[in-house]
Point group: C2
Chain length 258, copies 2
């Protein structure tokens, strides 16, 4: 059992929910999870799978804004699953009782293994994911041919998106937050699985390239790809969030509201 002093309890959405999470940097939820949660529309009332949920940040953020949504936090790491359980058990989160649950499972499991792990096919009305950035794909490849072919990663996004497509219901929705440079790989992984793609670029400042994209799509949909107005996190100067970023991060507005 972990030492209590290595963990913190943090307020999100202006105190509407709290997370029990490791004090160690790199495992702590932040802006990315809040932006991902913003992809779920106001009033959504179905089932949500939060893949790679960590301590539950994105899933709780959806639960906090969408009062009838039921969330399954899916996480492989025993330590983070423990954090998620402790988050659910916090007295501050009492109002979410029965709407947020945890499943220890590997998102990359396939076929019968995935079903046996508790992730049923064609089941979830919305699948959200904030896949890890610090896999092997962050290391520069010594094989220049692979890079030339735009195989920038080790296929993690392909495997995660394949699982998302399997467990999403027919017509169910999907959202991912990822680095902007992963756009090609994500679009390739969505092809034939998710359509009606909407992309919201996340720019740190008005005149800087996007650092993240939030991409939303629907299983089996046929709509055309849309490049939505971007979200700008900060003005050109200063450290404050823009009013729009603040509203999304604090669960007062969904990301694709415009």
């Amino acid at each position: 059992m972990p030492e209590t002093e290595n963990f913190t309890i943090d307020a999100f959405h202006r105190g509407r929910f709290h997370l029990f999470q490791p004090a160690v940097k790199g495992h702590r939820a932040g802006v990315d999870a809040m932006l991902l949660a913003g992809a779920v529309p106001d009033g959504f009332s179905g089932t949500v799978a939060d893949l790679g949920a960590g301590a539950g940040a994105a899933g709780f953020a959806v639960a906090a804004r969408c009062k009838e949504a039921r969330i399954l936090l899916v996480e492989r790491s025993a330590e983070m699953v423990d954090c998620a359980h402790r988050s659910i058990a916090l007295p501050e989160n009492e109002s979410y009782a029965g709407r947020v649950d945890v499943l220890q499972a590997d998102v990359e499991a396939t076929g019968r293994q995935r079903v046996a792990a508790g992730l049923s096919d064609n089941h979830f009305d919305f699948v959200i994911m904030n896949p890890p950035f610090n896999g092997p794909r962050d290391r520069a490849s010594p094989d220049s041919l692979r890079r030339d072919a735009h195989v920038m990663t080790d296929g993690l996004l392909e495997r995660w998106i394949r699982s998302a497509a399997a467990i999403a219901s027919a017509g169910g929705s999907f959202a991912i937050i990822a680095r902007a440079e992963s756009l090609e790989e994500i679009l390739a992984a969505c092809a034939g699985r998710f359509g009606g793609i909407e992309i919201c670029p996340i720019h740190p400042r008005p005149q800087s390239a996007a650092i993240r994209i939030v991409l939303r799509a629907r299983k089996g949909a046929r709509g055309m790809l849309k490049l939505m107005p971007p979200l700008i996190l900060h003005e050109e100067q200063g450290r404050d969030f823009t009013s729009q970023a603040n509203a999304v991060i604090n669960g007062e507005q969904s990301l694709f509201a415009v």
Copy 2:
């Protein structure tokens, strides 16, 4: 020979160049060609192929801003080739003499046919293109499977981008303006050919989805994809262009200047 009354002579870049073009709507150059030209950086001094050049709008716009660039307008239609020749011959365009030329050729020609048509392999320092939007790909496909597989077009973009990659020099640049929903197809066509992709979304108004993208890349480059700050054409209300759109459209600023 066409009747003179069916043609107009129009000023672009605040009168810095003129185009002789059909009076008929649909064949007239406009904002798209100016935005495409904006993808060529200030001070560029190499050779440019403008594929599907029409009367020469984008090519002339590059020539007007980049005083040492040499432009080859590549166009299949005899009528538009005639317009391009007449544009070059206009007294108003005297200052471009010797820097802008025309080649009647089919961009979709391949291999030796393309070379025989006058488009040498590995030759151009910058290839720009504004492919036609009104091909068969604009008709809804009766075959839902094709649409499901994100084969949204008839492959025109793949064929045009293949030609661009063939005629671009090693390390040469490429730029395309296209409908935003063509992003997936363009990225797929660039894979293994062009890298270091930069995408500038073009939004009609701040709160509307992008209607166009200008995508720029380099042959054989390995850099990560970048999603650049968008260009907004108009404010939320009114018909005037924003100051940034005006500057790009009038050749006072390149599109990726930020």
